[in-house]
Symmetry: C2
Subunit: 178 residues, 2 copies
């Protein structure tokens, strides 16, 4: 289940979005009536991911595929004792940050990532619930695609900002996939 | 085997590094004589990772743990036909970018990632050989740690820049682990 919310302004080249704000989940998107107006991303539009908890197994799987075996992520005693992370193993920041392209691509399959800035403000511990949120701040049509710039934020406990930054993408359309 | 190279200037608080430039691999680090001078990162010091090829299985594993199932990465026909990536499936940019913290942590276990900027300049296709390289551009001691800023670059074919950016980290020491 992926929770998504769009609070958007109109794109001049597309039909108007549904009344805003609204929420959908990925598995319930099929329940939207087929004659409902297309939902369109506009400047100011917000997409929010479903809550996610990275497990120890997730962190181990990511360490295996990325090769990043920093003991901060894999050894709770090391993380506590040496690095001062009192709650133990910390999820790789780049794994948490993967929620941003994941969220964007879930709404815009075929989205191409052009750039990303990331500020890791607080640690995310294994098992913490995190939610990613992106907001469109710039949209421009270019060569049958759309340059879309988003703020990218990730929160724990619905309010603590753990990652902040911006992403620049090329979207095939501004019409949301779900 | 991880190929690493350090071309560094001296840190005033540490013994001098070995003659530079030099190369080591992770598995051969134990062959360095125990009385060899410690190798110390200085401004200008370069660390280079071993060549890496991300396989289709790697991309699938990353998609599973990150949740990023953008068909650009998992469907070669989609990547070619819809997005114009003529050589097929593209490795997730954030997976390729994971080589930077992986490289830094391999030399400085316990390194804490503070920030990263990423510009994805060229696609990396499944099976392409990539090499990550970071260069220290700013070092400052702070509260028994070191603030270390690096340029972060990733190349294919030893010359084509595919990812460019900068990372800011907190290092527990400037003495290289290997």
């Amino acid at each position: 289940m992926r929770l998504a919310r769009l609070i958007g302004t109109l794109s001049p080249r597309h039909p108007p979005p549904r009344s805003l704000p609204f929420s959908t989940t990925s598995s319930s998107s099929s329940s939207v009536a087929s004659d409902a107006p297309a939902r369109v991303l506009g400047v100011g539009g917000v997409l929010r991911g479903e809550p996610r908890r990275f497990s120890g197994a997730d962190v181990a799987a990511y360490a295996a595929v990325s090769g990043d075996r920093n003991p901060l992520h894999l050894d709770a005693e090391f993380a506590r004792g040496v690095a001062g992370f009192e709650r133990g193993s910390v999820v790789h920041g780049m794994l948490v940050a993967s929620l941003f392209p994941s969220l964007i691509a879930s709404h815009f399959p075929g989205a191409i990532y052009v750039a990303q800035t990331l500020s890791f403000r607080q640690p995310v511990y294994v098992g913490d619930e995190v939610v990613a949120e992106v907001q469109a701040i710039y949209l421009k049509e270019s060569k049958k695609r759309y340059i879309a710039k988003f703020t990218t934020k990730c929160f724990t406990n619905q309010e603590c900002l753990v990652i902040d930054g911006e992403a620049t993408t090329l979207l095939p359309t501004l019409v949301l996939n779900k």
